[in-house]
Symmetry: C2
Subunit: 132 residues, 2 copies
DNA sequence: ATGGGTGCAAATCCTTTGCATCTGC
DNA sequence: GCAGATGCAAAGGATTTGCACCCAT
């Protein structure tokens, strides 16, 4: 499957997988440029979209500002800073009732493909910044 | 608190509260125009941002496309259609371990202000559309 | 007269698209 | 030579900002 990807696409995926944060398209571009000189940002966007369509990566948006990309495919939860837009992986599993989940999907007529728990709040560095 | 709001801001809040869906800024604008003729979309954006900053409303973004606004302040979960961007309220509570939640907040050093469960998938009308 | 709120238009930011070129087959 | 991938620049959509104006204080 990954063999089908272009060299650029492989490089993008590589960057995403190597990154612990959830980079924006611009950040992916800045990073992938080191490996694939001359690559354009349009290509990065094109690749990110294709990877997302094939469910090889996930996309998260905050409202305004840029979307963030995540190569991690296994289910995990996120903490979102409402101040700076940072998206953090939650390193522990937040158990929830799968029954209630299925019931919720039924109630909304959604064909569920994934789910996550999202925590909203103020991240560490923004807390620090506030104190000043 | 709400007495401090301008007439325009009150109208925007009114529209959001009356709406069962989660309108985009443009949709709020279209609606609020009926009541406050001559209001500009910039004002709507300004007000939405202020209300969000004061935690009187919530903002949800999908990645690309427009953000969606929600006047509902009590905790509830959402189902998100990855195809058309629709955001639906989940009418049932999805129980989860509050302990695990607190643990997650601790682990990410987030000062949690709220949380939600998010279900991703394909909504009813997009399922129909597929069949064609 | 002063300050906050506002409409309008221009600016900005993020993302997509059009098109000509390049690539590997 | 062809199909798909790409770079560049321009277009597009969403949101923000600059600025002059208006209104209540």
């Amino acid at each position: 499957m990954e063999d089908l990807l272009s060299a650029n696409a492989r490089a993008v995926l590589e960057v995403l997988r190597a990154s612990k944060s959830h980079p924006t398209a611009q950040e992916v571009y800045d990073e992938v440029r080191h490996v694939r000189r001359g690559i354009g940002i349009a290509t990065v966007y094109r690749i990110l979209r294709q990877l997302a369509e094939q469910d090889m990566i996930k996309v998260w948006g905050s409202g305004s500002g840029s979307a963030r990309y995540d190569a991690c495919t296994h289910q995990h939860d996120h903490a979102f800073c409402t101040e700076c837009g940072t998206l953090l992986d939650v390193p522990v599993a937040i158990e929830l009732s799968l029954e209630a989940l299925a019931e919720a999907a039924r109630a909304t007529s959604i064909e569920m493909s994934s789910y996550e728990v999202r925590i909203y709040g103020c991240c560490n560095s923004c807390q620090e910044r506030r104190k000043v």
